[in-house]
């Protein structure tokens, strides 16, 4: 068990750090994408319900 842990120790540590960084980065990107999709949905809904040209010239 001890050997398993110590064998290629620094490669294991480096790959773990890279894995954690990647996970957090991708997680943040996914959250950002979801928020953007929400905003896009909201703005398209607004343009459908409110038409300024039509409101000004009925």
């Amino acid at each position: 068990m001890n050997n398993w842990l110590l064998n290629n120790f620094w490669i294991k540590v480096t790959s773990l750090i890279l894995a954690v960084i990647t996970w957090f980065y991708v997680n943040e990107e996914l959250i950002r994408e979801k928020e953007m999709a929400k905003q896009l949905y909201k703005s398209s809904f607004m343009t459908q319900t409110y038409n300024p040209i039509h409101d000004k010239n009925p």
Binding site: N3, W4, N7, N8, I11, K12, T14, S15, L16, L18, A19, V20, I21, T22, W23, Y25
Partner: protein
Amino acid sequence: MNYLSLAKIIIEISLLWVVYYGILLFARGTRGVYVLRGIIVIALVFIITRQLGLERINWLLTKIFALSILAVLIIFQQEIRRGLANIGQRRWIRFFLKESEIIKEITSACSLLSKRKIGALIAIEREARLENYIESGIEIDTKVNAELLMTIFMPNTPLHDGGIVVSGERLAAAGCLFPLTQNPKVSPTLGTRHRAALGLSEETDAIVVVVSEETGGVSVAIGGRLTHDLDKESLERTLSDLYRPDKKNGK
């Protein structure tokens, strides 16, 4: 956060960890390690600049990163092909390899070669791939056998001058060229064979066994260090410990 989402996070990070570990192990000891280092640095700087909101630098790095990925795919297409081909072959069958038999064959060959003062250079592959060195020799791909090893190293035969590579349970190639050590601290009395053993052990994690043709002494090089004058028992013990570290202390 409930247990399920925590478990999902752990599984995802573990999967990423395994992938990164495999890539780093695969690249270790090859020229790809330098390119990989460069990509990791660019990726880290890319993430940092994104977090800091440095948009122009980030845009620039995005282009460089995309280009470097393409460059890696083109430059290392052979290595990538080999690596993909190895998935599902090597790692999984390692558990079933008969390491002890291989070690016995190598030990008895070295012992006999030592008695006759016939020079030999044997590299045993561990985690880092030795494909580059296998390619420099003549591919054999056969079972490791003491008689065959002795025949290869017989003087005045075509393959006796280079080293042989043992990969997994196979004798992969003979007549291979290994890099010579550039360490200035190495004794000037050491011959080319020992320098090659040290050089390979510095660049990879391979175990390299050398039989001196002057003294008949058997040495083992690992991690840039040479252990001299091993007898048959100590060679077998050393190889068993190094080849299968988990066997140490009788585990």
